[in-house]
């Protein structure tokens, strides 16, 4: 019994790390730009593809491949605001956007997924584990690969939070999230901050994709189920609240892991949505409230 519990807990925590990378990036983009990036999962997939290209095709060491994949995804993410979000914002002016941003990122998602399909084909690409071997904990064992995912996620998120708390550009990002007019009055250029924020957010997703490539395999639609689940997580945590997204990621992942004791495993994926609906009905501002990017 204890072994199972421990195994579930480890599984939940590792998965939580992945969810957190994904959900925090999504929440960051929402908090700063007020845009929900439906295409977030495609950047996850892209991270996986870049990792495949680096590690399998170019035979780079795993670490270099993962880092390059994350950076590559972030660089591509730099294009999203100037090409798409920015022009729409300019055309809207002060008019309310309604569903338009959602539709725009939906179009981007469709476009990216099918482009990946065209460029790389639909088969599941295999990436070997970044690290091999298993950590023996006595009662149970954990693959180092899974620990790597968790460790890298924690490091990346810690770096992000530190950046937002102390670095001049991190403060600028928070300023734009809290009060864009005042941020401009400080001399902060909104467009550049938006561009950087999107790149950071999708870069995190790309990192997740690169880390998970050995576990999930790589194919164009690999990111979409995560995207939908991440929406639920972001709502549970409080939209735009990064700490909330972090917390909710682990709440959901642990709930999913432990749920196996009570319900058949195919129904695991429902949990995130059930939790989301419960939160919306009982505490709509989310666990930590719709605070802005703190």
């Amino acid at each position: 019994m204890l072994e199972s519990l421990l195994e579930f807990a480890i599984q939940g925590v590792v998965l939580g790390g992945l969810y957190a990378l994904f959900a925090v990036g999504l929440s960051l983009i929402f908090g700063v730009l007020d845009v929900i990036n439906i295409a977030h999962g495609e950047f996850f997939a892209l991270g996986g593809y870049l990792a495949f290209a680096g590690i399998v095709l170019l035979r780079w060491p795993a670490g270099a491949g993962v880092v390059a994949a994350a950076i590559g995804t972030g660089l591509l993410g730099l294009a999203v605001h100037p090409l798409l979000l920015g022009p729409l914002r300019r055309r809207l002016g002060r008019r309310p956007a309604g569903p338009l941003y959602l539709v725009l990122t939906l179009g981007l998602s469709t476009f990216l997924q099918s482009t990946l399909l065209l460029a790389a084909g639909g088969e599941y690409l295999r990436v070997p584990p970044h690290v091999r071997g298993v950590l023996d904990l006595g009662v149970t064992a954990v693959a180092y690969q899974r620990l790597l995912v968790l460790g890298a996620a924690v490091l990346a998120l810690a770096a992000l939070f530190a950046f937002l708390a102390h670095h001049r550009q991190g403060l600028a990002i928070r300023a734009v999230a809290q009060n864009p007019d005042a941020a401009q009055a400080m001399g902060i250029p909104l467009g550049r901050v938006h561009t950087l924020t999107v790149a950071l957010g999708v870069g995190l997703a790309g990192l997740g994709g690169a880390l998970m490539a050995p576990l999930f395999n790589v194919y164009p639609a690999v990111g979409f189920p995560l995207t939908i689940k991440a929406f639920a997580i972001v709502i549970v945590g409080g939209m735009g609240n990064l700490a909330g997204a972090l917390l909710a990621s682990f709440v959901v992942s642990l709930a999913e892991a432990f749920s196996v004791m009570a319900i058949p495993s195919e129904w695991q994926n429902l949990i995130a949505f059930v939790v989301m609906i419960a939160v919306l009905l009982l505490r709509p501002q989310g666990l930590l409230g719709r605070a802005v990017v703190r």
């Binding site: 007019d181 941020a183 401009q184 001399g187």
Partner: protein, 237 residues
Amino acid sequence: MLVVEGVRAGYGRLEILQGVSLTVEPGALVGLIGPNGAGKSTLLKTVFGYLRPGAGQILFEGRPVTGLRPDQARRRGLGYVAQDGGLFAEMTVHDNLVLGGYVLPSRRAVRAAIEAALERFPVLRDRRRQVAGSLSGGEQRILALARALVTRPRLLLVDEPSAALAPGMIDRVYDALVALHRTGLALLIVEQNVEAILGVAGRVFVLDLGRNAFDGTPAELRGSDRVRRLYLGEAVA
């Protein structure tokens, strides 16, 4: 220093400013008053770039700034303090000041500028690590001014510095404004509280329904019966 000529501006199809002109001499303290809806705040927002004028032009230090974005206007030497202070309520006093120094070239310059600001406004020193939203109304207004000072604009646009403040706080805020003015900073202050501004301004412009209604010294303003009847009556609120 600042020349506004024939500016028309508004929100969407609603035109508020219908050809307004105004000047601010270097180092001057100029007041902008008028009834509600006259367009005073709208004019400040247009000068700083939050709104694009439909017609007219705006020159700052001889160069056109019409249509610049607010962050660009900031880099040209204009500063802006919003009616509610425009603070980052969920950040600390310290972080707000750091952001005030966003356009400064180095961390050392930012630190020095923050030190200077805290020297001038020592009430903020104790509150440095406090979240800005938890300060009192008057302290928040002081923080907004201190923050504006960190980057040394050459002309500061201030929107209703006395709004929603108790009389004692209003005096402190105006003392701070006058202190800033004495360092050589030019000020264009929009005010509902006519008495407060008339006490310190060198020149006053009056707007009514989006047009110029009067300009002159406070003494000239008080001396004109017509103006007093129309506008100072409002002030005794």
